[in-house]
């Protein structure tokens, strides 16, 4: 109720209060006359149950534990569920590739055209669809269900204390939840935070939440890196929580340097739990995600694939990678990985496909038809556990994609903040990767990824 009493009390504060009080009295009187609360056994039990459930979900002791467990469970379901459709899609695309090659061969098409069309465009697009689509569709369907039930505001409630301690706004948890779907959407959602300072904090740190362009990549690598489904889901959970921790840390630093100030007061309403409309939510989320992936595959991945083929065919890609290599080695990566992140700047979905294309054109041709194929390609290029971990860290923490930066510019209206939005995550990513790589090397922890 206190939300209603936060009207700015300027000169005639007393008048305002009296007006608000009169409105309240009237609203109360009308509500009382028009509603009847029945004291039936089951409805009272339901109200009691709702209250108990909320106590459980938002208590200091169980709230966090439950949140983490739920996240891990969702990741596990996604990882388990992804395998089959991913393999099926990969097989389908590989079959399609043979058909196209046969067709082009029949037409006597020049080799460079075959290269651009098949090795450039077709492979990149098929990777984006085969690797990204299944985990995205599953994860976001589950996430949409949680949202429909009304769990997200409880998460915000749980995290509020932490955010406030760092000088940020409690509603930032909601914007981060939106960031899972897409950081550009998350940045737009920051409008729900009214205070400009806290809004800026939320905008600048939203990128530390892995979006749907990065989450599937993280999942694929976690599946390879950590082995079993349970270990992989725990690793993913640790990564996401790590992202949260870094968000909090950056907020803490920023609100003590550039963005000084105290968190403003707000009221977070816990909406009622609702029975989710399972069928409708799943269908909608599935269709939305599929449409999104397909549109992105055509608009971003296809041109990027073509460009990349030209770059590799002309030897530019290898040169650029060689130039980046020394820097990348310090961070536990290699030159091609950094190049892929730079080339994948328009959309995070294409970073891994671009990397694979780079590897494939640089070395011997390995057919990357499935996760097993991915394994082989990475193995070929000397990936270790450490490379995979650093790749995941870099992917989690690096600069926002093009769309998100445009959105940040639109929301803040200032190029200065856009620069910070690039520099802060980039510095964080470089720092984290360097730390992990140097530490692991110093301790002699480097092992081959696929031993």
């Amino acid at each position: 109720m206190s939300a209603l009493n936060t009207a700015p009390c300027k000169s005639p504060a007393d008048l305002q209060e009296r007006v608000a009080a009169a409105l309240f009295r009237e609203a109360e009187a009308i509500a009382n006359r028009a509603t009847k609360v029945t004291e039936e056994e089951d409805s009272r039990a339901l109200r009691y149950l709702e209250r108990k459930l909320d106590d459980f979900l938002t208590s200091r002791r169980t709230g966090f534990l439950l949140m983490t467990a739920l996240l891990a469970f969702i990741f596990w379901l996604t990882l388990v569920g992804t395998n089959y459709p991913s393999e099926a899609l990969a097989r389908l695309f590989s079959w399609g590739e043979k058909q196209i090659l046969a067709f082009l061969g029949g037409l006597n098409a020049p080799l460079w055209l075959q290269g651009i069309l098949v090795e450039g465009i077709y492979r990149t697009v098929s990777w984006v669809v085969a690797v990204m689509l299944p985990p995205m569709a599953i994860f976001f369907s589950l996430f949409a269900l949680l949202e429909d039930v009304g769990y997200l505001p409880r998460v915000a409630f749980n995290l509020d204390r932490l955010f406030r301690a760092t000088g940020a706004h409690g509603k930032q948890a909601l914007t981060m939840a939106m960031g899972f779907g897409c950081n550009a959407v998350g940045v737009t959602a920051c409008r729900i935070i009214e205070a400009p300072r806290e809004r800026l904090l939320a905008i600048l740190t939203n990128v530390f939440t892995p979006c749907n362009g990065r989450l599937p990549t993280l999942m694929a690598l976690a599946a390879l890196f950590a082995g079993g489904g349970l270990a992989a889901s725990l690793l993913l959970c640790a990564l996401v929580l790590g992202g949260c921790a870094i968000t909090l840390g950056v907020c803490y630093l920023l609100s003590r340097t550039f963005l000084k100030g105290l968190p403003s007061y707000f009221v977070l309403e816990l909406p009622p739990f609702r029975k989710p409309q399972v069928g409708r939510v799943l269908l909608r989320s599935l269709l939305d995600r599929t449409a999104l992936v397909l549109v992105r595959a055509v608009t971003v991945a296809a041109p990027a694939g073509a460009l990349l083929w030209v770059l590799s065919a002309s030897g530019l890609a290898a040169k650029a990678a060689a130039a980046l290599d020394p820097l990348a080695r310090v961070m536990g990566l290699d030159g091609f990985i950094l190049l892929a992140f730079v080339l994948g700047w328009p959309a995070n979905e294409i970073v891994l496909p671009v990397l694979l294309a780079c590897y494939l054109s640089a070395g011997t041709m390995v057919e990357a038809e499935s996760l097993a194929g991915l394994k082989a390609v990475l193995e070929e290029h000397g990936w270790t556990h450490l490379t995979a971990l650093c790749y995941m860290l870099f992917s989690l923490l690096h600069f926002p994609c093009g769309t998100t930066l445009v959105t940040i510019y639109r929301e803040t209206g200032s190029l200065r903040w856009v620069c910070w939005a690039v520099l802060i995550p980039l510095a964080t990513a470089c720092l984290a990767c360097t730390l992990v790589a140097q530490l692991a090397r110093a301790l002699g922890l480097v092992t081959s990824l696929f031993t």
């Binding site: 300027k10 009169a22 949202e147 409008r191 729900i192 909406p271 409309q277």
Partner: protein, 227 residues
Amino acid sequence: MTFPQDNRPKTDGVVALVGNPNTGKSTIFNALTGLKQHTGNWPGKTVSIARGTFRVGAQKYLLVDLPGTYSLRAGSPEEKITRDFLLSGRPHVTVVVADAGRLERNLYLVLQVLEITGKVVVCLNMLDDARRRGICVDVRALEEELGVPVVAAAARQGLGLQELKGKIDALARGEISVCPRRVKYDPDIEEQLAFMSGTRWLALEALLGQQKPGEGSWVERFKYCPV
């Protein structure tokens, strides 16, 4: 010199959709317009204004989904957007979506809207949820109290939407007469209000000194607002 073109779709009326956060406004918006705005079960979800059209018979209406707000008088951006639209966008009909299970808090906003415009349909949403929790709302009694049409609905189940459309249409065409509830303020406030012209809302705004210096006074900007 040419005037900037009015690029609003040609419609027979503008309908504004307001309400507390998380009362199912976007669900109603989607159901009426057939558009697919994202809906979510948390407050503050609508961050931009969505527009769509729907038909009732031969009439075509433009529906505007405004951000959820608890009040029209405090200072948050959502409240400003909603208030500005009601005052200057001059919707022909305003639908206030209210959560039947939290009537009291929702009525606070309804009463404020009634001070701006009487052309209001109250959509009493989530009746099914309320009933499950043992809360029954007497729609007729509420209608009598408020003096404007009240429609019972459970938008997620698609219930009550036809009636809502019908009421909007009837109100827009002047087939329903309304007698909006007026809140009685303290005698001294009422005395001062009696001397002022314009809508009750603007008179109150002037009295409360809500306008910020330099922004141009509210009363001036909305002098020609329909009563």
